[in-house]
Amino acid sequence: MTTGTQGWHTGPALLSSYLAGALDAITGASVEQHVNRCQTCRTAVASLLEPQLMERTWAGVRDAVERPPLPYPLRLVRRCGLPEPTAVLLAAAASLRGAWLVGAFLSVSFATLAANVSGGTALAPFLLVAPLAPVLGVAAAYGPRQDPLEALVATAPYGRTKLVLLRTIAVLVSVLPVTALLGLAVPGPPWLAAAWLGPALALVPVLLALAGFVGPRVAATIVSLGWSSVVVASTRGGLDPTWPVEAAQQGVYLMLGVAACAVIAIRSGVHRQRGVAL
């Protein structure tokens, strides 16, 4: 069996012990080193192994390489029952990535900090940023001219409306709790922590309705400018800092939101084609 280093090959008995893991550490490592380099012994190993085991191992390796694990938050939600295909779709949405969420978190944090430092007199930054965070997240997650897969999404049986709504819900679920928590830190009346939710929830359907006409980027710009003017005008006009989110104004936002939903529904009905309205 041993005829110099070139001609030496492991015998069947040695290989079987190696495969069974029955060799001592040094002999085992030596055999492994040799098998790695020797074609003849590799072939001998292959004939001793169970093909199913090899297939299973290969499938496992291939699976791990081809399908990298889902992002952590999605794995978490998966465990709470989110279907696997839905997780695949959400993993591809840009605004659900860590970078975007961290950005949104930071802007709302700074706004909260500003409100705190000013002792509650400068609520404008918080009221400006908090309702816009979900709006911009939704806009960034979807749309024609922005989604490179638009043409495919629009003609897939899954349907674009369903995908847009799925992403919208995902953005809201990921942004709203953090913003709500930060809102608790804003000085002022306790109801303020939740009051910004009114415009936030109204502006999202407004954005979706507008995006159906002008695309998500322009729609996001219009909504941002609109909301900014409301907040800035109330500050300039010497109104109470909480004016933009007081009850009367909330009514207006509610009506706006309902009107936007109606526009979306009517357009869906007129086109009678899934995915056209949004």
Binding site: D63, V65, E66, R67, P68, P83, E84, P85, V88, L89, A92, A94, D147, P148, L149, E150, A151, L152, V153, A154, T155, A156, P157, Y158, G159, L163, H271, R272, Q273, R274
Partner: protein, 293 residues
């Protein structure tokens, strides 16, 4: 009503973009097999394919896909889309997706919900377009031809009965084109494949049937050999360029390939190619295409 219907039926279909008429009163029907759409830029090829791919609606006329109205009920639209494979002319790829990830994403949109079966299917179509080794490469790192093949792979998911390919051969080299030909001819046995191209040789190689579009209307519809036949006796090899030829150019042998017009003195009749026939079919419109270099 037991009238046999074609997979794709277009009757009097028209589409305008503002004042521009993209399609005008087009009547076409397609069944199993591979059909090529030829035509100059702006002829209406992409518009026609987008209508068949349920991406846009026609302004006028009637469209039936698999016997269903693609702008009818949600159930009908979805039923059509389940049987549709579509490669758009321009397809963006999210930069951080791998070839596998991209095709898998589309597979989910196409309702491949079972994970195991989906993975198998994605591997199958990537293998069909010879991208198995690039499956884990980011799409942004692939070459133009490889990206086109990723796009093609997603269109083949699930062996759809209706396959719409807008310029599938862009960026493919001759060997890949030959592979595509094999894939499509296999697909054409059970599916209706409609593809557009600028390359007459693609049509000659890939398609049994050819439709020539120009200015939004159908100029020719028939077998590839029939289109070539229309140029019989109108193409010559001559020592001089043709005086009133539609196009003529000097070939590698030093003689002139003359298409149309009157034959120059001493001209020998030449076997027409599909390109000659196409140029003759379009007539003066062909000048806008430019003659081959």
């Amino acid at each position: 009503m037991s009238v046999p219907t074609s997979t794709i039926e277009l009757a009097g279909v028209g589409k305008r973009y503002g004042r521009k008429r993209a399609l005008d009163d087009v009547d076409l029907a397609f069944d199993r097999g591979v059909t090529g759409l030829l035509g100059p830029n702006g002829a209406g090829k992409t518009t026609l394919l987008r209508i068949v791919a349920t991406s846009i609606a026609a302004d006028s006329g009637q469209v039936r896909l698999l016997g269903l109205d693609p702008h009818g009920s949600h159930a009908d639209v979805t039923a059509v889309r389940r049987e549709l494979g579509y490669l758009p002319q321009e397809l963006g790829y999210p930069s951080d997706m791998t070839a596998f990830g991209f095709v898998e994403y589309v597979a989910v949109l196409k309702e491949w919900n079972d994970r195991e079966r989906r993975v198998q299917e994605v591997r199958r179509v990537l293998d069909l377009v010879d991208l198995t080794d690039q499956a884990t490469t980011r799409v942004s790192r692939l070459s133009g031809g490889q990206r086109r093949r990723v796009g093609l792979a997603q269109a083949l998911l699930g062996d759809p009965r209706l396959v719409v390919l807008d310029e599938p051969t862009t960026g493919l080299d001759p060997a890949q084109r030959a592979d595509l030909r094999r894939t499509l001819s296999a697909l054409g046995h059970r599916s209706t494949v409609l593809l557009s191209t600028h390359q007459t040789e693609d049509v000659a190689a890939l398609c049994e049937r050819v439709v020539v579009l120009a200015g939004g209307t159908v100029r020719f519809d028939g077998a590839v050999t029939d289109l070539v036949g229309t140029a019989m006796g109108r193409v010559w090899l001559a020592d001089e360029p043709g005086e009133d030829a539609l196009v003529s150019w000097r070939t590698g042998t030093g003689r002139h390939h003359v298409v149309g017009g009157t034959p120059p003195a001493g001209a020998d009749p030449a076997e027409p190619t599909l390109e000659d026939a196409y140029l003759l079919m379009l007539g003066p419109d062909a000048r806008r295409l430019g003659a081959p270099a």
